[in-house]
């Protein structure tokens, strides 16, 4: 049995759930569903089936399942264009972050809510002046009695208006000469706190998943610091491996592709075969990274390679879909809608999760060090 066929039963379970959801109008398939499909009720229905917090230990409300099982479930959901955005970052990286670096109290306080799809989390990393150069961030956490006072602004904070907490990367020690990654920490900030202001940012697709979150004298209690003060960069690096290696890096346009293939004309075989083979290879590469993450750590250049190659395939797929639909006998309104969505969304494919330019620098460095 190949590594792939081992999970057939699990895939069938998820597919049956998706069929039932589609039949009952539970969701409408979309591209980029992990970013644009924000549906907290759907997230809770997934949680009821045990598909959120899958890899968390059961004592924290999880199911104690493997990273590969989680990968399989999420692949199926993304291939179906299911609305998983509400819980996506919490499940993907906040949970593993707390499991690895959080205190017992934090684990008991936050993990069960994530596993139930009730606690919605935003990631506070990028700032207006700190995108690719994240370490240059300026949001400052100053020590006060019982905690920290946070001042600064985060941007591109997906779904902050609908989230309960933000995991923010902040500077806790002023920057000294030498290590620019030192002095950073991560904190869990309650978005209902005094001093927090959130404004949605609309993007050219017409969606507004982005937001700006400003902190004006926001008090964060001591117990909301994650791990050790100053370990922020180390924590973020480990999170990024998860962020970069998942199925969202090659399946964002799959709902469009599936429709395009179904409606394609007779001369499309070569193009379909070409795309299918490349998608298969990216699925295998991504699965391989997730399998390695299961046993511990992974060289950062590996997820970077998957992210770079996968998102470039996503971009190519938009034009392939367009060609298929141009030759289609009767392209549907659904396909046209998905194609328009994908065309407008495509700049994001290679920007989010670390721009491809940064990914390529990492890959080149690893191979030529």
């Amino acid at each position: 049995m190949t590594a792939t066929s081992r999970y057939t039963a699990l895939r069938t379970e998820v597919r049956d759930f998706i069929s039932a959801e589609l039949d009952s109008g539970g969701f409408v398939p979309m591209c980029d569903s992990w970013l644009n499909g924000h549906d907290p009720l759907f997230s809770r229905r997934l949680a009821e089936r045990g598909w959120l917090g899958m890899t968390f230990p059961t004592k924290y409300g999880g199911r104690g399942r493997t990273a590969l099982e989680r990968f399989v479930v999420n692949e199926e959901l993304l291939a179906a264009g299911a609305p998983v955005a509400a819980h996506w970052v919490a499940d993907r990286q906040t949970g593993p972050l707390l499991l690895r670096f959080g205190s017992e109290s934090q684990k008991h306080r936050f993990l069960p809510g994530i596993a139930r799809g009730e606690l919605l989390v935003a990631i506070g990393m990028s700032e207006p002046d700190s995108g690719s150069d994240l370490a240059s961030l300026k949001t400052r956490a100053t020590k006060v009695a019982g905690g920290w006072e946070v001042n600064g602004t985060k941007v591109w904070t997906s779904h902050a208006p609908h989230s309960h907490i933000v995991v923010a990367l902040v500077r806790t020690t002023p920057r000294q000469n030498g290590d620019r990654h030192a002095g950073l920490s991560q904190m869990i900030i309650d978005l209902a706190s005094d001093g927090v202001a959130i404004s949605p940012i609309e993007v050219m697709t017409g969606k507004a998943h982005f937001a700006e979150v400003s902190f004006d004298g926001v008090f964060v209690p001591d117990e909301m610091l994650i791990g050790q003060e100053g370990d922020g960069w180390k924590q973020v690096t480990s999170e990024l491996a998860y962020e970069r290696s998942g199925p969202e890096r090659f399946l964002s346009t799959y709902p469009l592709m599936e429709n395009a293939v179904t409606e394609s004309g007779p001369n499309s075989d070569r193009a379909i075969g070409g795309y299918s083979a490349n998608l298969w290879a990216l699925h295998l590469l991504s699965q391989g990274v997730n399998a390695a993450l299961e046993s511990g750590s992974v060289e950062p250049a590996r997820p970077a390679l998957v992210k770079n190659a996968g998102t470039l395939l996503e971009k190519r797929s938009v034009e392939i879909a367009r060609d298929l639909l141009l030759d289609a006998v009767a392209p549907s309104a659904t396909s046209q809608r998905l194609l328009r969505q994908a065309q407008l969304a495509q700049p994001g494919f290679t920007l989010r999760g670390g721009t491809n330019e940064v990914m390529r620098t990492m890959i080149a460095r690893r191979w030529t060090a």
């Binding site: 049995m1 190949t2 590594a3 792939t4 066929s5 999970y7 057939t8 895939r11 069938t12 692949e75 199926e76 291939a79 799959y254 592709m257 599936e258 293939v261 179904t262 394609s264 499309s268 075989d269 070569r270 193009a271 379909i272 075969g273 070409g274 299918s276 083979a277 490349n278 998608l279 298969w280 290879a281 990216l282 699925h283 295998l284 590469l285 391989g288 390679l305 770079n308 190659a309 330019e357 390529r360 620098t361 890959i363 080149a364 460095r365 191979w367 030529t368």
Partner: protein
């Protein structure tokens, strides 16, 4: 399972094949001494499964030999001769000594007169010619002739300067060795083997390119300092990695799904598509990295890069496999592509 090209077997074969590499001039045409060494070491027999031998005939081991041969651009028909030995054994016959050429056709053999087999790899150097052709009821027939009875009517070379020959033989000289399950099985094995040769060549191309960027200095330092060059390195690295991942899975499917020809066929098709695309990407990026020196005959780069372009044409070209795969995807219904990729119908 371990990634292709990382085992001890690979290292041993790589070392053996690497010994002849010092003089690039020796690497054109056919190297009978190298072939002799390979045979004496048994590396042409890794696909052979003797009757009753559960352990023999590992496609995974064959893959290790092939990636080493591809990386070293070895001027020997490792694919054809290894497969011929395995097929002869499968038909219950003894493997003849010397170099065996293999020809596969989808047309049934004529029953009398002379026939010409075109573009037989290393045909002009072979001692034996083995032919796979359709038999009754979807099976395949295996025939063999001693090359004393074979006439070389034309010689040519591939894009990578590998030898090909048109061979004429009277069908009465072709001994029927036996029956095989299907011609398609042989088509798959040839195509899969070609993909694995390409993985080796991709890895070698990548290693050469990476090393060059570290040590070639221009403008006061190694050229890897420039992002434009880093981008080229990423292209070669990615091309090799994507091909390797697909071919690793292809080997798994071949080994695990011995009775599921469709699953094997899909994986082989995808592997041929991916290696074909990787071939062009790596070819262009590596030559760009090496500049003019890499464009010379004297430099070793072209030995691998021309083989990448040439091998994607063999045993059904990569575009044929793309079309085949696309047809299968469309015929598999609405969720066909995803079902194929996940192996879950």
């Amino acid at each position: 399972m371990t990634a292709t090209g990382t085992t001890d077997l690979h290292a041993v074969v790589d070392s053996l094949l690497g010994k002849g590499n010092a003089d690039p001039a020796r690497r054109s045409g056919y190297d009978p001494e190298l072939w002799d060494q390979l045979q004496r070491s048994g590396f042409d027999r890794v696909l052979v499964r003797e009757p009753g031998d559960e352990e023999g005939g590992s496609f995974s081991e064959f893959g290790e030999v092939l990636t080493a041969a591809g990386a070293n651009a070895s001027p020997v028909p490792i694919v054809e001769a290894s497969l011929a030995s395995a097929l002869v054994t499968q038909a219950g016959r003894a493997i003849p000594s010397g170099l065996i050429a293999l020809y596969r056709t989808d047309d049934p053999l004529q029953t009398r007169g002379a026939v010409v087999f075109d573009q037989v790899p290393y045909g002009q150097h072979a001692d034996w010619l083995t032919v796979v052709s359709p038999g009754p009821d979807g099976s395949a027939r295996l025939h063999q002739a001693n090359c004393d009875s074979v006439r070389v009517v034309n010689e040519s070379t591939t894009l990578a300067s590998e030898p090909r020959a048109d061979l004429e033989v009277n069908v009465t000289e072709l001994d029927e060795l036996g029956v095989l399950p299907s011609v398609w099985q042989v088509t798959l094995q040839l195509a899969a083997a070609r993909a694995l040769l390409m993985v080796g060549a991709l890895q070698r191309t990548r290693d050469l390119a990476v090393e060059y960027t570290r040590f070639r200095e221009q403008f006061g330092g190694p050229i890897i300092r420039f992002q434009a060059v880093q981008n080229l390195v990423v292209e070669v690295v990615t091309a090799a990695e994507v091909a390797r991942a697909m071919c690793d899975h292809m080997i798994q499917c071949i080994i695990a799904e011995e009775t599921d020809t469709r699953r094997q066929s899909l994986a082989v098709a995808a592997a041929r598509v991916v290696t074909g695309e990787s071939a062009v990407t790596a070819f262009r990026a590596a030559h760009q990295i090496f500049g003019a020196i890499g464009f010379t005959k004297e430099h070793e780069l072209h030995l691998c890069t021309t083989r990448l372009l040439s091998w994607r044409e063999d045993d059904r070209c990569d575009r044929w496999w793309a079309q085949w795969l696309g047809r299968e995807v469309r015929a598999s219904g609405e969720r066909g592509m995803w079902q194929i990729i996940t192996g879950a119908p």
